[in-house]
């Protein structure tokens, strides 16, 4: 028996409904508005009234309108056929909608349950399995896609039947599990999961230890991100948040990338739609779009669905993580999500916290970041969700509630600075304010020593040191004047400028410079630190700038050259002769 209700009142998209039976918090319902069926979610129950936030415009809704409750929470559909899809915040397939505009009440299935896939069983009849166990496998876009035992299964069950290898539709039953109490689970390739609940069904969570290579020097070399790590990028508008995040999406060594475009510009998503089908994924030789899922709930799409969109994205990530894949989730921007929460709590007349945000904002953000991580699955395999969110602080002020709450939850902090952006020093990640807490992780240090380089972490610290000393020198020069300080100060300053221009700055639009491999990064860090450690002799402070300017100029050309190409080696020679064996009088 489905519960029904009628509309009793409304303001904007918050609708008061009187149900004729029991309903539960976060239950989904459909509201009749003329010919349209509007989806909504119960966000508060008070007496006999359920407060429903409607994921659509409520224009024309009348008092007394009929509401049908589904009994289900907001769910994400999971299965093969999601890769390359563009969804809205509620997982409607945007490509399946007809027409130019997103008409109200329009919905389309997340994936095609009739599509056929080549199934290979991974278990045998009689095996004992638990939730999330890999029962079979199909291949989608070159990636193994596991068919798993239901995530909601409690305890162990026995495989009563498993289909032999062959082609099956996504909706076909490919396995049957019998529980000890006799209950049966028919397993198809498609399952659902309520998005607001963390999908677990893994063995245990461990501390991240492997570097997630992004090819961006200021991240990898100076503030490394790890597989299963968390980070956030706050910055005023115009500082290159989106460019940086898209560079990460393109280049990061991940198996699956999920992009949640949450309340941001539609044209930015269009850029991804346009570019990703063209760009190659160097790891697989396929197109980038084939490993990408996009959740686009852009700023003019319904606000309530914006809140749902980040949960939809995270649930999809959890699903792939449980297949033992490295998943990267990028959310742009979590501030818009927080604002959606604020609009709703405001309409519910909740007592407001700082800047009118809901009081539990910090807890909500922390709980979301906690869904990322590195896990060991029950079968001993490993999977990870790396989560990087952007934050759009109001007025560029980092002392606002969303930034502060996020800072408590995320381990890496990539602060974008207005000053750097103003002088076109991109990426505008401030090297002094930013941090990666992972540099202190012993398991990361050990991993880097063993697998990448024994000097990587020492490099990072040394670079930060030189940059900090350079900043101090610049402050002194500004206070005392060029000739009021010793030449050493000028040298300190220009060494940090050298690191800034060559290592920190990177041209995201240059085909060569945009991606810097780990080997090349190590090479560059070695070279630059060697230059910085060299003592130079100048007679007058005015000689320092031209010397370093010239060197920076040559090194810039080096960044634009293909690694170890003849051109690269030629410039390298030039730099070496200029820098490493400095003449007594350098110019």
């Amino acid at each position: 028996m489905k519960v029904r209700g009628t509309v009793q009142g409304l303001i904007a998209n918050l609708v008061q409904v009187k149900p004729d039976g029991p309903v539960r918090q976060n239950e989904i319902c459909y509201l009749q508005a003329g010919e349209d069926l509007l989806m909504g979610e119960i966000i508060k129950i008070s007496g006999e009234i359920a407060f429903v936030q409607v994921y659509d415009s409520t224009r024309g809704v009348r008092i007394g309108a009929e509401v049908n409750f589904t009994g289900d929470l907001l769910e994400v559909t999971l299965g093969p056929g999601m890769l390359g899809k563009k969804y809205d915040g509620l997982q409607s397939d945007l490509d399946a909608h007809e027409g130019t505009f997103l008409l109200r009440g329009m919905r389309s299935p997340a994936l095609d349950v009739h599509q056929k896939w080549d199934f290979r069983p991974l278990v045998q009849t009689g095996s004992m399995v638990s939730a999330g166990a890999w029962l079979g496998e199909i291949t989608e876009n070159g990636l193994p896609h596991k068919i798993m035992a239901p995530f909601s299964m409690e305890g162990q069950g026995k495989i009563a039947e498993i289909k032999p290898a062959g082609e099956y539709k996504a909706a076909d039953t490919v396995a049957e599990i019998i529980m000890t109490d006799g209950r049966k689970h028919a397993v198809t390739m498609v399952s659902t999961w309520p998005s607001k609940l963390a999908l677990k069904a893994y063995g245990r969570k461990i501390r991240p230890f492997k570097m997630l290579e992004t090819g961006i020097r200021t991240i990898d070399t100076v503030h490394p991100m790890l597989e299963g790590g968390t980070g956030f990028i706050p910055g005023p508008f115009g500082c290159g948040k989106t460019v940086l995040q898209q560079a990460i999406a393109k280049q990061a060594k991940a198996d699956i990338v999920v992009i949640a475009a949450c309340g941001e510009r539609a044209n930015e998503v269009v850029e991804i739609f346009t570019e990703f089908p063209e760009l190659d994924d160097p790891a697989t030789g396929r197109k980038l779009i084939e490993r990408t899922i996009i959740i686009a709930n852009t700023s003019s799409m319904p606000v309530a669905a914006r809140e749902a969109s980040v949960y939809t994205a995270m649930t999809i990530c959890e699903y792939y993580r449980n297949m033992g894949l490295r998943v990267l989730l990028l959310a742009d921007s979590t501030s818009r999500w927080a604002q959606a929460l604020r609009e709703m709590s405001n309409r519910m007349e909740d007592l407001p916290g700082p800047d009118a945000f809901p009081m539990d904002l910090t807890a909500t953000i922390a709980a979301f970041y906690a869904r990322a991580g590195y896990v060991e699955l029950t079968n001993g395999k490993q999977g990870s969700i790396t989560f990087i969110g952007t934050v759009s602080p109001a007025g560029g002020n980092l002392k606002e509630p969303v930034t502060e709450a996020t800072k408590k939850a995320a381990r890496c902090f990539y602060a974008l600075s207005q000053r750097r952006a103003d002088s076109k020093r991109y990426p505008a990640v401030d090297p002094i304010d930013s941090y990666s807490k992972y540099l202190e992780y012993p398991e990361f240090r050990d991993y880097m020593k063993e697998h990448v380089s024994t000097r990587w972490i020492a490099h990072a610290n040394e670079i930060k040191n030189i940059l900090l000393r350079g900043k101090e020198a610049a402050d002194q020069i500004n206070i005392l004047g060029d000739d009021g300080v010793s030449i050493d100060y000028h040298m300190q300053f220009w060494k940090s400028e050298l690191l800034d221009f060559i290592l920190l700055q990177q041209d995201a639009f240059d085909e060569v410079d945009m991606f810097c491999s780990v080997t090349r990064q190590e090479f560059m860090a070695d070279l630059l630190l060697q230059i910085c450690q060299t003592e130079y002799h100048f007679d007058h402070f005015s000689e320092v700038r031209p010397f370093f300017r010239k060197m920076i100029n040559s090194l810039k050309q080096l960044n634009y050259a293909i690694f170890e190409s003849p051109g690269f080696n030629r410039i390298l020679e030039e730099v070496r002769s200029m820098a490493i064996q400095p003449a007594e009088k350098s110019i």
């Binding site: 009793q8 009142g9 409304l10 303001i11 415009s57 409520t58 224009r59 024309g60 809704v61 009348r62 008092i63 945007l94 909608h97 027409g99 130019t100 505009f101 997103l102 008409l103 109200r104 005023p236 508008f237 115009g238 510009r265 539609a266 044209n267 269009v270 850029e271 739609f273 686009a296 852009t298 700023s299 606000v303 818009r336 604002q339 604020r342 609009e343 405001n346 407001p352 800047d355 009118a356 759009s392 109001a394 007025g395 560029g396 002020n397 103003d422 002088s423 076109k424 500004n478 004047g481 060029d482 639009f509 005015s542 700038r545 300017r549 920076i552 100029n553 810039k556 050309q557 634009y560």
Partner: protein
Amino acid sequence: MQTSVINRFYTDIHHITKATISLRATGIGNEELALVDGRLAQVVKMEGDMVTLQVFSGTEGIANDAKVSFLGTAPELEVDERLRGRFFNAFGKPLDEWPAPTGRKREIGGPPVNPVRRKQPNTPIFTGIAGIDLNNTILGGQKIPFFADPDQPYNEVMATVALRAKADKIILGGMGLSNDDLLFFKDTFRRAGVLDKIIAFVNTTEDPPVERLLVPDMVLTAAEFFAVDKDEQVLVLLTDMTLYADALSIVSNRMDQIPSKDSMPGSLYSDLARIYEKAVQFEGKGSITIIAVTTLNQGDITHAIPDNTGYITEGQLFLRKDSETGKVIIDPFRSLSRLKQLVIGKQTREDHPQIMNACIRLYADAAEARIKKENGFELTDYDIRTLAYARDYTAELLSIDVQMDMDEMLNKAWQLISKHFQPDETGIRQELVDRYWMN
């Protein structure tokens, strides 16, 4: 709009505030329009049979037995080719003596475009102003505001840009526009002989402020008609969005909503995004480009209105008077066109990105030299050269009264840096230096 079927009269108003009235009524739809004593009002809240209406022109003098009739629809605009050449008020009523054109009725504030049906903007709009074309190239389908203090000539610059851009239609949305400025726009468009491709929806300073909330939706409904149905390139001008946001805060205040930063409603971001996101390049030829004005208070871009705007729009053009040359310029540091990367060096000459960046970097060095100078420090030879360069750059390129085409701008830029600097001081890639440096 008054011609709709009138269902029923109500005369028992229960509650009157400055901007809203409440009364008992049934069978009413959310956001439906009503007439309260002849004044236009809209449903904003319903609770049981208690309906709250926002009266656009305010409730001064409304009696509690005033006649209220519901119109059965949300605000609409009748769209037709014959809208062109006409000036309307915020409700779509003509400002001249002729009747409003009849056409297909469209609800204003329609649904958003499906992101997958958008095309990536790729057509530059050249304006002849170096602060735009050279440093911040704008594209068809883009949305970008001028950030300007109230004393800057923003409406004049906007009119210049509008006339240069090759648009099929120019739709002006005036919010809190002074009568003088309205006459300026009319006169400028008339003298340029383009009145027949202009449409305007205007709320002047003499009209009630809340009425201007309808202006952007009216403008954009007309814009969507021409861009989608007629496949035309439409340029939308919105001035001044700060006054629009002020009207939002008045309404939310009267609705007892908890204000967030700077007394603005918590939904300011979504409210502004709903408007700006109407800028789009459709799959065919049709496009909507939005150029807006956001006035600032003494250049403060951290205020909630410019701040939220900056996060929504694809860049901003910052108007500033250069104190040294006295010229109005588009500030190269604080201005940005996010979409320029799609065309510069591709549809413009190959050297465009590098020379543009070099010019701005050197201009930044000049700004630092100026600080040194002001603090009484000795200037190096380099500092002196950057200062001389900055003066030339401002007067000969950036100033908005300089008019040039794209290649002239690029040549001018090379000429200026060649005059004041050595190639290795510019950080420009060697092959470009070899090709374009002027000795």
